[in-house]
Amino acid sequence: MNLENKFRELQNKGEGAHMPHVYYGDPHEEFSLKLLETLVENGADIIEFGIPFSDPTADGPTFQAVCERALENGMTPSRCIEGIKKLRTKGIDNPIVVTTYYNIPYVMGVRKFLDKIKQAGAQAIIVPNVPVEEADVLLAEGKKSGIHPIFQIAPTTTEERLKKITDIASGFLYVIGVEGVTGVRESLGDSTLKLVQRVRKHTDMPLMAGFGISTKKQAAAVVLAGANGAIAGSAYARIYEKNLKNPETTLPEITKLVEQIKQGCIEGYKQRK
């Protein structure tokens, strides 16, 4: 299913979307596959499929450690792309958004990289270190490959930039509610909600809110504020990292969390008047 249809389907159902973010290959490929299956089976609508990078400067300590482990265990971009194929082979139909840092596609060749993930079954790509100013290649090649480059919006984004971004964006907008990097946060500041509201004024495009979301309540809040859904990533890694020898044993806890966050996305939508 493509992104557009997914968002339409959820809107019809009256639900917010949940997009969990998983870096592929931590602690090993088999677990990542099982984890993604579990997430999808229990509430995930869209998959943010991370390709680990050595220097993930937009990521907090949890995902830094995740990337480090995945790379140490030999994960490569090509094997990640194979992983996307495997998900599709398993019959998972949800939209897949690849996340990685720009050096990965840059070194492979942006067009080649986008073609490959497209072939494997992905619909979009998030490259946190490519702002609009540097997005020409990604936009042009994305168009040719049929991959949406997803852009982010931050509290620091000016009105002028917001316009620029919404003008070129497709798929959805990634709203970073906090000034900072990925990672679990105790409470979600008003800033996130305000930013969602601010962006909403500019565009009807789907908005996914991320960074710092780890609870049902937080998910509900961003959806209530107008986001089309909530992204959570480190929150899941924090669960399975507690037992890296047998991460499968943590899947029940992860199941519970994804159910709850999805529930938050649903309730937040319902609470809108």
Binding site: D55, L71, T76, N129, E134, F151, Q152, T156, T157, E179
Partner: protein, 390 residues
């Protein structure tokens, strides 16, 4: 400086959080730098606090050894012991102009962290310095200095605990506080406008060289040699000569132990273009684009990337790149100590080693300026240990 591109290098590959701040920074730099008030404040600090102009010293004994006429541009005499303060003072003044109260930065050899703390105190700004845990150990004395100045030293224990990791973490930290805090980038790396800002502040070196050498030799130098990783001291020296096509520019990077993988910092020899810390640079990486850690005994050269501008200069063959191995570098320290009574920083000793190793490249009548970027006090323990053990 509109786009910050140097051939295929450069750019602004950062999170959206930081983009508006970079735009603001560029505007502030363009607005303030050229004003007489800013120039006056900067030049007064450079002269009275930092000790500029630094001398251009005709090193007769060393010249004899190499077989040409070598001048040392004495950045080791800058307050704090290296060229780093030129840039730190400039950016600290800019921070004040922007109305920010804090500065964060990262440091490897500690020289830049020290320079930032100094500039911070002079300008009344709070300073926080991120430093890899491994570098904290290796550069203990600079850590002490930074702390004595009252700056906060934040250990970075991700990755290998070295400069690359400290830069990453400073960038992360910056995304949380960029509206109140300036990231004082220490070399000509990072996203635009940093490479431009740093090179501009450092180009005082080259401007002085030009004046001084013309006075002494009545001509431009034939060659300028400088060490570097990010490239700030080299570009500082090179910039006013880039258009003077007859002036050879030689850039010397850290060869490390050997050119085998993971044992070197020689990104021009064994790296390729890639995107790291906000820009396309020549960078050490594996075939998949994962950045590789660099290795060299000179903490200040221990960075896997070459800044955009020096990458562009080498790519276009305007500058030549060379390297020196660790053991050659230690010997070069001794050569300089014995011939001229000067103990160079291990970084600087790379440029010295290059000349010692490539005497054939230098004609008898050639006038060479070696940018003597720093003094070796910070490396004394390492140097003595090397000679006691070898």
């Amino acid at each position: 400086m509109k786009n910050g591109k140097f051939g295929k290098y450069g750019g602004q590959y950062v999170n959206e959080v930081l983009m508006p701040i970079l735009i603001e920074l560029e505007a502030a730099f363009e607005k303030h730098y050229k004003t007489p008030e800013f120039q006056d404040k900067l030049n007064t600090l450079l002269r009275d606090y930092a000790g500029r102009p630094t001398p251009l010293y005709h090193a007769k004994n060393f010249s004899k050894l190499i077989g040409c006429k070598v001048y040392l541009k004495r950045e080791d005499l800058v307050c704090g012991g290296s060229h780093k303060l030129n840039n730190a003072l400039g950016q600290a003044l800019l921070t004040k102009e922007m109305g920010k109260k804090r500065m964060i930065t990262e440091t490897a050899a500690g020289q830049h962290g020290l320079a930032t703390a100094m500039a911070g105190n002079v300008c009344g700004l709070e300073t926080e310095v991120f430093m890899g845990v491994k570098d904290i150990k290796r550069q203990a004395s600079n850590v002490k200095r930074i702390k004595l100045l009252g700056a906060k030293v934040t250990p970075v224990d991700i990755g290998m605990g070295v400069l690359k990791d400290a830069v990453s973490d400073t960038l992360r930290k910056w995304t949380t506080c960029s509206q109140t805090t300036h990231y004082l980038m220490g070399s000509t790396v990072g996203p635009h406008p940093y490479p431009e800002i740093v090179a501009t502040f450092q180009s005082v070196i080259g401007k002085e060289i030009k004046k001084q050498i013309v006075k002494k030799e009545d001509k431009l130098p034939d060659t300028i040699v400088a060490c570097g990783s990010g490239g700030s001291n080299a570009l500082g020296a090179f910039r006013p000569f880039i258009k003077e096509k007859d002036v050879r520019l030689i850039f010397v990077e850290g060869g490390g132990e050997s050119l085998e993988a993971d044992n070197s910092a020689a990104a021009f020899k064994i790296g390729k273009p890639g995107v790291l810390h906000g820009a396309v640079m020549q960078v050490l990486q594996d075939e998949n684009g994962q950045i590789k850690p660099s290795r060299t005994r000179a903490a200040g050269l221990n960075y896997p990337g070459r800044g955009p501008e020096i990458s562009g200069l080498v790519d276009s063959r305007r500058a030549k790149s060379g390297s020196a191995f660790d053991n050659e570098v230690f010997e070069a320290v001794k050569v300089m100590a014995r011939t001229e009574g000067l103990i160079p920083a291990l970084e600087t000793a790379h440029a010295i080693a290059y000349m010692v190793n490539n005497k054939d490249e230098f004609d008898k009548n050639e006038v060479v300026v070696l940018n003597y970027s720093g003094r070796g006090d910070k490396d004394l323990e390492t140097i003595m240990r090397y000679f006691n053990e070898s």
